[in-house]
């Protein structure tokens, strides 16, 4: 198991957003987390990326307990995340967007103050690779705030890739995308399978079913089912939770 949570819980006062969730993600697989709105999926991601500490429970990454690691150390451990609401660096060029992410987890920060940013070849290489992976390499010099929403979602992903992480946490990468753009995003995610361990939150069932190795289903903060796509599809609890929501 590369990434695990043990009985992880997060309460905000009287509201328990995540309740004793156990997650186990094997290296190299794509593990999806699904559930109706408000199920606690993004909160779970926030816990994994150190946005806030859990109320109780543990997070284990590569056999090491990383519970309570602050957000700015998580990237250095090898976990990178993309967000549900696009959050990039608007005034930066696409290249700078990924460069800044690549530099953080680069081999060395030597020359932080005085070396020209252009002289870090390894970092630039990873940055270019990330843009190429998502298909935005031709637009490297455009500003992030000038590209379309769909392209910004791709950039969102590229920033996570630029860190050359071991685990990718993708929060609804297809959010707000047209059917054509969604198809491209799915192909992109599929191309990343195997190269990275991926934890994916998504609402669009067809995506989930086609790319996932395993699926965890959350409802009102708790885990209600876990298994292969086939098993989940046949699970009556899952069916019930989704009545009125997105059906398989």
């Amino acid at each position: 198991m590369l990434l695990e949570t043990k009985e992880i819980t997060k309460s905000f006062g009287a509201l328990t957003a995540v309740n004793g969730v156990c997650l186990a993600v094997e290296a190299g697989t794509l593990h999806s987390i699904i559930g109706p709105n408000g199920a606690g999926k993004t909160t779970l991601f926030n816990l994994l990326t150190g946005t806030f500490p859990p109320t109780s429970g543990r997070i284990i990454f590569d056999q090491r307990d990383i519970t309570g690691t602050p957000a700015n150390r998580i990237a250095h451990l090898g976990l990178a995340r993309s967000y549900q609401r696009t959050t990039v660096f608007p005034a930066f060029s696409l290249f700078d967007n990924v460069w800044v992410a690549a530099f953080a987890t680069g081999p060395s920060w030597k020359g932080l103050l005085w070396k020209s940013a252009n002289t870090y070849a390894e970092v630039a290489g990873r940055a270019r690779q990330a843009l190429a992976d998502v298909g935005l390499i031709d637009k490297s010099h455009q500003l992030a705030r000038e590209i379309s929403h769909g392209e910004q979602r791709q950039l969102e992903l590229a920033i996570a890739l630029a860190a050359a992480p071991r685990v990718l946490l993708l929060d609804e990468p297809a959010a707000g995308l047209s059917p054509e753009e969604t198809r491209r995003m799915v192909a992109l995610v599929r191309s990343l399978k195997g190269r990275y361990t991926i934890v994916l939150i998504e609402h669009k069932m067809d995506i989930i079913m086609s790319v996932s190795d395993r699926i965890s289903v959350m409802h009102f903060g708790s885990l209600i089912a876990e298994g292969t796509p086939g098993e989940i599809q046949k699970n009556p609890d899952v069916r019930r939770a989704y009545l009125g929501g997105v059906a398989a």
Binding site: N72, R81, V100, A117, I159, A163
Partner: protein, 304 residues
């Protein structure tokens, strides 16, 4: 990007023929001050409204040592930079935990703390009367008493600091600070400890401010109380904004504009700060983006 450098060098050489060397020196000193502020304001997005804390502290400490212990110029500069950086570290540490309005207010309030300390500690600082009698010792055999020679020294230092600041903003640190400005949450998520980087920006900005402070004290031979007042902090913010906080050279242009404005107005009317206030208001209401951006717009239209 060779053009601005050529223009600047020309300005450095020609300026003392256009205005008095003392004023010319003041312009470059203020430019150094502005460069320090802009690392925080323009690049990191932190409106530090207490920069005179570092400027004034350095001026007082170095001035005191120059006056009573007769230290040499080089040491005075070094101490000024050190005091500027140290005071910035203290202030910065207290302030980077907060953001937005809180941050601005804190930098102001801490500035007041230093101001009132200077105001009350008359035995050392001379209070309202300032600390007169700051000498301008020779360095490496060069006598700085001649205003023109001191000007050459100051402008040389300015060029050096400009070069240093250029290196800094083009370095990874420059990118990281801007990333923090653009999207602090994402910058942290990507692996940067934002408060620590903000503190670093503070210290660097403080060092620059400290250097400017010592040069200022040596230029006028006195450390006035105003040098650590919030009005002075406001002046450098104004100068930076009017020059354009988005570019490296903005503070330099702003320094020209501000010093020219204040020098020409102060000889005419004792109540010139009123006009300064009016200038602030006009800039804010009509000239946002500053001179540099206005120039961009104009040149885009003419040179397209």
């Amino acid at each position: 990007m060779k053009q601005p450098i050529v223009l600047l060098l020309a300005a450095v050489v020609l300026l003392p023929f256009v205005v008095r060397p003392a004023i010319a020196s003041e312009i470059w000193i203020f430019a150094i001050f502005g460069l320090g502020l802009n690392l925080l304001l323009g690049y990191t997005g932190l409106l530090s409204f207490g920069q005179s804390t570092f400027f004034g502290s350095a001026a007082y400490v170095a001035g005191w040592l120059l006056k009573h212990y007769g230290i040499n110029t080089l040491l005075a500069l070094g101490i000024g930079i050190g005091v500027g950086a140290a005071s910035a570290a203290v202030v910065g540490y207290l302030c980077v935990q907060r953001s937005g309005l809180y941050f601005i207010m804190l930098t102001f309030a801490l500035n007041q703390l230093f101001y009132f300390t200077a105001y009350q500690w008359t035995s050392v600082t001379g209070g309202e009367d300032g600390m007169p009698g700051v000498p301008r010792p020779a360095m490496l055999g060069i006598d700085f008493k001649d205003p023109l020679i001191y000007y050459a020294f100051v402008s040389a230092l300015f060029l050096i600091t400009l070069f240093l600041m250029k290196r800094i903003v083009e370095s990874p640190l420059g990118k990281i600070l801007q990333a923090i400005r653009e999207n602090e949450v994402r910058a942290e998520a990507v692996g940067y400890n934002a408060p620590r980087f903000k503190l670093l920006a503070f210290v660097i900005g403080g060092a620059f401010s400290g250097l400017a402070g010592v040069l200022y004290a040596m230029l006028f031979g006195i450390v006035p109380l105003e040098a650590i007042s919030f009005v002075f902090s406001g002046n450098v913010v104004f100068a930076t904004l009017i020059g354009g906080s988005g570019s490296l050279y903005g503070p330099v242009i702003g320094s020209f504009v501000f010093i020219w404005l204040s020098e020409s107005m102060s000889t005419v009317w004792a109540r010139w700060p009123l006009l300064l206030g009016v200038a602030f208001v006009i800039v804010v209401l009509f000239l946002r983006g500053g001179v540099v951006e206005a120039w961009h717009k104009v040149s885009l239209r003419f040179f397209k």
